[in-house]
């Protein structure tokens, strides 16, 4: 696909006897919101892990910004500009909200071990910039009031948002969101949709795994459907909604 920021070519990954992802080729256009949907166990999270480098594919390639990143370590993938949130929130529970988001600035700062030990003027100036940027990111998401709270003590919905802020602090080019609306109420989900659109308008491409169909249909330009590890179809939300195969896997054979 021309203009694609991310492409996977025939990615496959097997867990023992289970083919979790098979020959999955997807493309995500730059500056788009693309949704990845599919029933439970379809391989969506596995595909994310293959892209982000936390799992190595058995075969196939991942190309990001024209560069082959297949098999790159997760921290290297992050440094290239791919951020992610997890299906189950993974905050640094013992750290404060601000500290969590400051870790998000890791790839955007560089003070090493020795600079940190000596706390040189350049080091503390960078540290101040990290802190200010993290605080601004939190303020932007209206989380400023929770800044000094210990992350693990916050309500679930707030934790989700903090994880978002943490990923955004890295200013990624591509953000992978794994079921961001899971566990959120209607009101929170609507706010999340607006937030994702706002993120995109800031030049961040979004690939989102989501079960909430109204959210998916609302915000995404393109929907990719995964079933049993394979790409079933891809297209606009309307096209996908009308696809009989999609209707079948979501609603059962009777409705097809």
């Amino acid at each position: 696909m021309p203009g694609a920021l991310l492409e996977t070519h025939a990615l496959s990954r097997r867990f023992g006897g289970l083919q979790a992802v098979q020959d999955a080729s997807i493309a995500v256009a730059a500056d788009s919101i693309t949704a990845l949907i599919g029933p439970n166990g379809a391989g969506k999270s596995t595909l994310f892990n293959l892209i982000a480098g936390s799992l190595a594919p058995d075969s196939g390639r991942v190309v990001f910004g024209g560069r082959d990143i297949t098999g790159a370590a997760p921290h290297a993938v992050a440094a290239l500009g791919i951020g992610r949130t997890f299906q189950t929130t993974r905050l640094f529970a013992h750290m404060t909200v601000l500290e969590n988001v400051m870790v998000g600035r890791h790839v955007r700062s560089k003070a090493g071990c020795i600079a940190g030990m000596l706390n040189l003027p350049s080091t503390w100036r960078e540290e101040r910039r990290i802190r200010e940027h993290a605080a601004a990111t939190l303020a932007d998401l209206e989380l400023g009031g929770h800044m000094h709270a210990v992350a693990g003590t916050l309500p679930f919905g707030v934790q989700r948002l903090v994880e978002f802020a943490r990923a955004l602090a890295a200013e990624p080019r591509l953000l992978l969101l794994d079921e961001p609306a899971a566990g959120l109420n209607l009101h929170e989900t609507a706010a999340l949709g607006r937030l994702i659109e706002r993120i995109r308008s800031q030049g961040i491409t979004v690939l989102v795994v989501e079960h909430d169909m109204s959210l998916v249909m609302d915000i995404s330009e393109r929907v990719i459907v995964l079933d049993q590890g394979r790409v079933l179809t891809a297209g606009t939300p309307l096209e996908v909604q009308k696809n009989p195969d999609v209707v079948r896997i979501y609603l059962g054979d009777d409705h097809a």
């Binding site: 951020g83 905050l91 640094f92 013992h94 750290m95």
Partner: protein, 359 residues
């Protein structure tokens, strides 16, 4: 964290001075010797606190790094090069200030590597060795990392105790003082005892400052994030292996600095400094002090080492430290819970005890 985090460092410095004043006023200057030695052991514990408490790694081989530092300084500063004094390389080294001429206690003239150069070599060697073994072993977890570092400690002990050039079981004696200019030196001269007290504890305060700086920095935050959730830390660009190796090397450097200075202070070093029991002792101090709690570790280290050096534990010295470690692991105070390695080790000890009871 702003400047407030430096308050405990200042408090430590004040405490150091207060103890010296109290000892002087109480006419108990002879305590200083043990307090000086305890300071150097505290420095090892401080480095290990960084490794265990903040990087979540265990090392049962830190006495090995201490010995690496001490033996390098001892060997280089006692190896007499006088026979080679006229050779061009020796003249060149001497002209660079890398060699020093001095007289040992028997009045023999010695030309050897200058203490500061030996110190630099000791630290560089410890850092290089820590890096070389750190890269492959740091990916190990739990018992595996404990065993690998234990193996390293045993190797260093065997080398120290079995090499003629290192004096085998006698170790190396007649190590010269580390002259610092103006008649001051790191050494055992009674007249320099107060000065040495401040050098030793000054290094501990400096080490604490370095650790406070690091833990409040980008790399320190990265270490904390690995503790919190490794996958999430990686996804934010934190290179787990790199951070852990850096912490390992830093803690080895702490140990080597301590080893080098204490060797100059004592004027000698023997293989017992490299023994596994010494490594266990450092781990026991960090565990008892509360792992990431640097101030707890330093106070525990100062108290236990001072008592040990005063001979309070008598022949049960090693047993006391072993018992402390077991007790701390079994009754798990707060600091211990955060560390997966020790939790694993605790499970191991616990199972052993159960097996023993069942038998």
């Amino acid at each position: 964290m702003g400047p407030r985090r430096y308050i405990p460092v200042l408090a430590l410095a004040a405490l150091v001075a207060a103890v010296e004043r109290a000892v002087a006023l109480g006419g108990a200057g002879y305590y200083l010797t043990q307090l000086i030695m305890a300071a150097y052991y505290c420095l090892v514990a401080a480095g290990l606190c960084l490794l265990m408490g903040h990087a979540g790694q265990i090392s049962l081989g830190h006495a090995g790094f201490f010995a690496l530092g001490g033996y390098t300084s001892a060997a280089l500063t006692t190896h007499n090069l006088l026979a080679h004094a006229a050779e061009p390389w020796a003249r060149f080294l001497a002209s660079c200030g890398l060699l020093a001429e001095w007289q040992n206690v028997y009045g023999v003239k010695v030309l050897s590597v200058a203490p500061w150069a030996a110190f630099a070599a000791a630290v560089a060697l410890a850092a290089a060795v820590a890096f070389a073994i750190g890269v492959p072993i740091i990916r190990l977890r739990g018992h595996y990392l404990a065993m690998a570092t234990l193996g390293f400690g045993v190797i260093i002990y065997r080398i120290a105790a079995g090499t003629d050039a290192l004096g085998r079981s006698d170790g190396i004696a007649e190590v010269p003082p580390f002259a610092l200019g103006a008649g001051l030196a790191v050494g055992g001269a009674a007249a320099l005892r107060v000065f040495n007290y401040y050098v030793a504890w000054g290094l501990v305060v400096l080490g604490a400052l370095v650790i406070v700086n690091l833990t409040g920095s980008r790399v320190g935050r990265a270490l904390a994030s690995i503790h919190g959730n490794e996958a999430a830390a990686n996804a934010l660009g934190v290179d787990t292996a790199r951070c852990k190796v850096q912490a390992f090397v830093a803690s080895a450097v702490f140990a080597a600095v301590a080893g080098s200075f204490l060797t100059h202070y004592n004027g000698s070093i023997g293989p017992s400094e490299a023994s596994v029991m010494k490594s266990v002792r450092y781990v026991a101090i960090v565990a008892a002090g509360g792992m990431a709690n640097l101030w707890g570790v330093l106070l525990t280290g100062a108290a236990l080492n001072f008592l040990s050096l005063r001979g309070v534990f008598d022949t049960y010295d090693d047993a006391v430290f072993g018992a402390i470690l077991i007790a701390v692991m079994l009754f798990a105070p707060r600091g211990l819970l955060g560390m997966p390695q020790l939790r694993a080790l605790r499970g191991f000890v616990g199972r052993r005890l159960h097996a023993g009871r069942a038998a």
